[in-house]
Amino acid sequence: MRKSVKILSAIAAAAFVSSAANAGTLDDVKAKGFVQCGVSQGLPGFSNPDANGNWTGIDVDLCRAVAAATLGDASKVKYSPLSAKERFTALQSGEVDVLSRNTTWTATRDTALGLNFAGVNYFDGQGFMVRKSLGVKNALELGGASVCTNLGTTTELNVADYFRANKLEYKLVAFEKADEVVAAYDAGRCDVYTTDRSGLAAQRFKLGKPDDHMVLPEVISKEPLGPVVRHGDDQWFDIVKWTLYAMLESEEMGINMGNVDKMKGSDNPGIKRILGVEGDVGKNLGLQPNWAYNIVKQVGNYGESYDRNVGPDTPLMLARGVNNLWNNGGLMYPMPAR
């Protein structure tokens, strides 16, 4: 019921508030002194609260980077945990300033919902997890299976497409919260748990016996996950977009948390521009010249964020793969900061 209340209040806001959502989000953020960031209700590696209530994850780092760029302090973020069902309404109504919640970029979401995707911070694809005891080797053997997933996601539609295209029978059991999906799969309600492969790697640790389960080799969809902002505020759209690029660009240039102060004295004009020693990228964005310096100093570059949250040394053990920089054989390609 609390969910409906949230959505209803959002509708009420749409009815009563005259276009507050279109006002300058940057000015709002500066005035209130923090960035309100929509995150997941707990997905390890992406956005997950630890035992002390501190949020960590690759999506959380993006929120912190936006706060560092706009307010000069990465800790000035307030988090709104949102279910898949609530997330867009929360953003549309202005309840959050930016949605950084492992959200797939699709045409409908980009066009019909009044939203803009500011880039991709994780290239993912949907996969299947099954019990090893089933003896299944690939997804084409899943005919007749019960499949657990989250409702209102692209996952739900992809799995329908996949089973229909391969003429396989299936039963879809869709839950509102990720924790309930995991609990139901663990209780044996379903043979298969499907979501983005990064999600499978993360949620696996919530299962009773993680080692009894395996992820099948198939990747059945493209899931570019990225931060989302509202239509109609181009300045804020630019800020979120270039925050992401700044994290990628600094990795490409070898700037990291440890050496950023030393790099400020570098002779390389590219490094000088991104760190605000030269040029006026910061001014054009409506920010301080040292906006990107703050991001790298306080949050780190993209590679550091990746390794810290989802990389091979974390419990998720996700290889960099397509999320590597373009010059390392990946898809991450920051636009030139000049």
């Binding site: 279109n22 867009f88 409702l151 329908a160 839950f175 044996g188 309600r189």
Partner: protein, 396 residues
């Protein structure tokens, strides 16, 4: 003469702005106009804001292909159907679980309510413990308990519990054989209809005869005989035009037969057990509202305790019971929207959840959903009011 006097004494008609009738009308129109203007402003402002933010609006989405599958459906549905059809799937699932819930909550609530008043100490205490425990635990927790608590202890499909090779119970649901009707089954259906008609006439006849002569007739036994007997005779005549489709384990799951999914069972169970506690208390208060003298008078006339309860106490108690019972039915129906927590595909999950998220048209989807719940509640309310009027004390 008196008429003339009063006429001449009446004061002159006041001017229209001082006339209380016109004044009242004027202010009512003013308020009504204000409400309409506010409504119009809200609607146009909403549409304005939606357009400015580039959010799609309108009800055209109902004709768009849905593309998602639904776990359980009472009507034919596949991914190729529209959002509009998905809406009806959700609506019927909501009505189904609410109907089942109301049916069992009523029966169980009446039994427990009477049991709590029983002179049998153990029975009364058990009823008290049941009521005080279940009505004081939040419903959502009870739903989770029945779902996850029971689900975890059920076997996997390959180790299903089995009765006579035709009923199977596992963590995917309860599977039972499905009757397949063949040519000539219509005869049996007609025999069934005929049996019901005969029973109605028989009951009327028995009632009249008892009023006239005082002789009783065993209507219940006769009815059971007719309702089983007639269709059976028809089945023999038609040569048993029916076969059974048995569930079979193929691959991961059973196919064929009828399946009752665990989500439906746990939701219906939690709703009925929870609401039954409230109904039990309503029934108890209703019975206690009937003066004890009525029971004593009935016993003094030599009427048996069972008949006393059925014919003397309960008809009088019903007048107290029905109005609060109506609110419990409404509560149960509205509480069924907690289904979303355990993946039972009711209206809120299918339409207010999946469709809302796939289309992003929150305002349209939620208005429709709210209108549906309002309509269902008003219909239940109207029916119960009608029943209440029928049951009300007829003054002679």
């Amino acid at each position: 003469m008196a008429q003339g006097v009063s006429n001449s004494n009446r004061p002159a008609k006041p001017p229209i702005w001082n006339d209380p009738v016109y004044r009242a009308l004027f202010f009512q129109f003013l308020v009504l106009g204000g409400v309409i203007a506010l409504g119009a402003y809200l609607i146009s402002n909403t549409l304005d804001n939606l357009a400015r933010q580039g959010i799609a609006s309108g009800f055209g989405f109902l004709d768009t292909t849905a593309g998602f599958s639904i776990l359980m459906s009472l009507i034919d549905y596949s991914e190729e159907n529209t959002y509009g059809r998905a809406f009806f799937v959700g609506l019927f699932n909501t009505l189904l679980v609410a109907g089942i819930g109301i049916f069992f909550a009523t029966i169980f609530g009446f039994l427990v309510g009477v049991a709590r008043l029983s002179s049998n100490w153990l029975l009364a205490k058990m009823a008290t413990v049941y009521i005080e425990t279940l009505r004081n635990i939040p419903l959502l927790l009870q739903i989770f308990f029945w779902y996850f608590g029971v689900l975890r202890n059920l076997p996997a499909p390959r180790d299903s519990a089995m009765v006579m090779e035709s009923f199977f119970l596992n963590n995917r649901g309860l599977y039972s054989p499905r009757p397949v009707f063949e040519d000539g089954f219509a005869l049996i259906s007609w025999a069934f209809v005929a049996a019901i008609v005969i029973i109605i006439f028989m009951a009327k006849w028995a009632h009249k005869r008892q009023e006239k002569t005082g002789q009783q007739f065993h209507t219940v036994y006769a009815s059971i005989g007719i309702i089983i007997g007639l269709p059976s005779i028809a089945a023999v005549i038609a040569g048993f035009p029916m076969s059974w489709n048995y569930p079979e384990l193929t691959g991961f799951n059973f196919t064929g037969g009828i399946v009752v999914i665990p989500e439906l069972v746990s939701l219906a169970l939690a709703l009925s057990l929870y609401t039954a506690t409230f109904i039990a208390e309503i029934v108890r208060s209703g019975i206690m509202a009937v003066s004890h003298g009525q029971t004593e008078a009935s016993y003094a006339l030599g009427i048996k305790p069972g008949v006393t309860l059925r014919k003397v106490v309960i008809p009088q108690a019903l007048r107290v019971i029905i109005p609060p019972l109506t609110s419990q039915y409404l509560n149960l129906t509205k509480n069924s929207s907690l289904a979303a927590a355990i993946a039972y595909p009711d209206l809120v999950l299918v339409f207010g959840g999946i469709v809302l998220n796939q289309t992003g048209q929150a305002i349209e989807v939620l208005s429709i959903t709210m209108a549906v719940y309002l309509t269902i509640s008003l219909l239940i309310s109207a029916f119960m009011n009608w029943y209440n009027n029928k049951m009300a004390l007829v003054e002679r």
